[in-house]
């Protein structure tokens, strides 16, 4: 018997030859995926680093408060563009929030019907629409008939882009409100509409606000829809029916210009823009996580 055992121990495992190679392949591939993941964030680090290096120099309080200087003069700021972006965000919210929250409520409450599925699908499709197409649509629909560019047209264009994001967030957040809360309200004598608005929507509001902020962050950086609608304005203007400056638009104009001073301004502006966007993105992650934590109690 021991001879048999010895023979068995001596004989190579049937798959031993291939196994070493397969194991090696596996290690190599795992390492490669790690490399891939690391490479994926290199651009982010590179861009952020470059922005900070180039933009920090030109950034000062002046940047936020003063107007652009004529070509050749250093310094100045983008006050008109910053204010313009804020105004555009306001108009966009006025357009995008009611539609988005209303549609989100509809999808959460009547979710399974065919119409609801269609709306949800189309909202996703709308989300993927190129922003330049949104821009020329807004031009055709809101600028051409009126005859001139306006902040309203620009705000409406980016407001339309907010709709799918707000809809999706609202639907998801409203769905997290437990049915028992709805029932408790109904049993108290709340009519359905008040249950939806005063109890359910209010409970979901924290998450919805976060989602709205994320949508705002995304839309604040959009340039293409504004090219032919808000158009930009070298002066300080807050009139809604006139062209208006916007931060991303200004960045674009400065970046493709031949003037070094304007390039420096563009860097500073880009730093401000990306800081805004990133801060909101980071905040939203933390808020969502803590909300989910609480919901699990």
């Amino acid at each position: 018997m021991s001879a048999t055992v010895a023979r068995m121990q001596d004989a190579p495992h049937p798959r031993a030859r291939g196994l070493a190679r397969r194991r090696a392949t596996s290690y190599v591939m795992v390492a490669l995926t790690c490399v891939a993941a690391s490479l994926a964030i290199v651009p982010l680090v590179a861009i952020l680093g470059y922005l900070i290096r180039q933009g920090a120099g030109a950034l000062s309080l002046d940047f936020f408060t003063s107007m652009p200087r004529p070509v050749g003069e250093a310094g100045g700021g983008m006050a008109n563009a910053i204010v313009g972006t804020l105004i555009l965000i306001g108009i966009a919210s006025a357009v995008g929030l009611p539609v988005g929250i209303g549609a989100g409520l509809y999808l959460a409450e009547r979710g399974g019907t065919r119409l609801a599925n269609l709306v949800r699908f189309l909202a996703d499709v709308l989300n993927g629409l190129p922003s330049i197409v949104m821009g020329i649509f807004a031009w055709e629909f809101l600028v051409r008939p009126i005859g001139h560019f306006s902040a309203l047209a620009g705000g409406a264009a980016i407001g339309a882009m907010m709709i799918p994001l707000v809809t999706r967030t609202t639907e998801e957040m409203v769905r997290t409100v437990p049915q028992s809360l709805r029932e408790a309200a109904l049993a108290l004598g709340f009519p359905r509409w008040r249950t939806s608005l005063q109890i359910v929507l209010r409970t979901a509001m924290g998450g919805i606000v976060t989602g709205v902020l994320v949508a705002v962050a995304r839309v604040a950086g959009e340039t293409a829809p504004l090219l032919f609608t808000a158009f930009g304005n070298q002066f300080f203007s807050t009139k809604l029916t006139q062209p208006i400056a916007a931060l991303p638009l200004q960045l674009f104009v400065y970046a493709i210009s031949p003037y070094d001073e304007w390039h420096a301004q563009a860097w500073a502006g880009a730093l401000v823009l990306i800081a805004l966007v990133l801060v909101i993105s980071v905040m939203s992650r933390f808020v969502v996580r803590s909300k989910h934590g609480r919901a699990n109690d």
Partner: protein
């Protein structure tokens, strides 16, 4: 203990006494009658109509976009016919418009973007879903997703001042001379920086987070049991991925790639800042070119004639159609695997 007195049963409206005045004992009864039955029913109906109305804004908006852009582009399409898509003559002065270079540029830059981004995104997603230790997973996924939050114009800025010089001075000479790729038709010609290659590179960075996010989601949605079954059969970790996990998530991953394609097709600002903006149909990646989106962005403000404008609108319409179809296919594929829409 007093017995409660019951009211006469009359369907009268509720008395307007606040409940506070009702004694805690023997509640002052009011028959639950026709009180504002009109009120609440009407209010409920208004609410339902309102949210339905808002929801319908979405399909209506989409339809409106389709119709408006289509109608605006129709004159050009009718005038040039199918040649609009195949001719490469774009001459506003002569009134001749052919969008072939722009269409070709769109396709080529998107392909470059996908070729570069997909392996990286998929590799990264696999790493995050299966191999990464848990403390690394969240932050790394977050950072990759953050790439999607960077505005297009900021990518463009970085592209103009960092990437283009890098290409012009280091990468392009390296490809052309050191690797001798200059002998091929793809890397020929003057290399000033703004090029189809530059656009493709920037697009790949912009598209990567979308492919990565969707892939990660569908990979994580593959049930544990699939992986365990493969491991139990003696597969290595990598073989588990290729043999059990990826086949299961395949349509979702393809959906993610197509989603990335949809994004690449429509990107405007970063592309227009680095592609050179020339109606050129060249095989060389070093040559400047156009994409449909950057063409519109570049020429729209200066469109001289009605035909010119209509031609640009027609280009927009073609872009709209293509992205519509591509996104719809992507969504459907991702839906299939049960991954939620990202």
């Amino acid at each position: 203990m007093q017995t409660p007195t019951l009211p006469a049963t009359v369907t009268t409206p509720e008395p307007r006494t606040p409940p506070a005045l009702a004694a805690p004992l023997a509640g002052s009864p009011a028959p639950p009658a026709r009180v504002s039955i009109e009120g609440t029913v009407v209010a409920d109906r208004v609410y339902r109509a309102a949210i339905l109305g808002f929801a319908l804004c979405v399909p209506i908006l989409l339809l409106l976009i389709f119709v408006e852009v289509g109608i605006a582009g129709w004159p050009a399409l009718r005038q040039f016919g199918f040649g609009f898509l195949t001719s490469s003559t774009w001459d506003p002065v002569a009134g001749q418009f052919g969008a072939a270079p722009a269409i070709a540029g769109t396709v080529i830059t998107s392909i470059i973007a996908l070729v570069i981004a997909t392996p990286l995104a998929l590799g990264g997603a696999i790493f995050l879903s299966d191999f990464a230790p848990s403390w690394v997973r969240q932050p790394l996924a977050f950072l990759i997703d953050l790439l999607a939050a960077v505005p297009s114009v900021v990518y463009g800025l970085w592209g103009v001042f960092f990437l283009l010089p890098l290409l012009r001075e280091d990468v392009m000479p390296f490809l052309r001379d050191t690797l001798h790729l200059g002998a091929t038709p793809f890397f020929r010609g003057p290399a000033y920086g703004p090029s189809v290659l530059a656009a493709g590179l920037i697009l790949s960075i912009m598209v990567l987070p979308y492919i990565a996010a969707v892939s990660r989601e569908v990979l994580m949605a593959v049930p544990r049991s699939q992986r365990e079954a493969a491991l139990a059969l003696g597969a290595t970790r990598w073989e588990t991925i290729t043999g059990a996990v990826i086949p299961f998530a395949r349509s979702g991953i393809i959906g993610g790639v197509i989603l990335g394609l949809g994004r690449a097709l429509g990107e405007t600002m970063a592309v227009t800042m680095v592609i050179g903006n020339r109606h050129e149909l060249s095989a060389s990646l070093f040559a400047p070119g156009y994409t449909m989106a950057s063409l519109i962005a570049n020429e729209f403000s200066e469109a001289t004639s009605d035909v010119h404008l209509s031609a640009l609108m027609a280009v927009g319409f073609v872009l709209l159609l293509i992205t519509l179809v591509v996104n719809a296919v992507a969504r459907w594929l991702v839906w299939q695997t049960g991954g939620s829409r990202s």
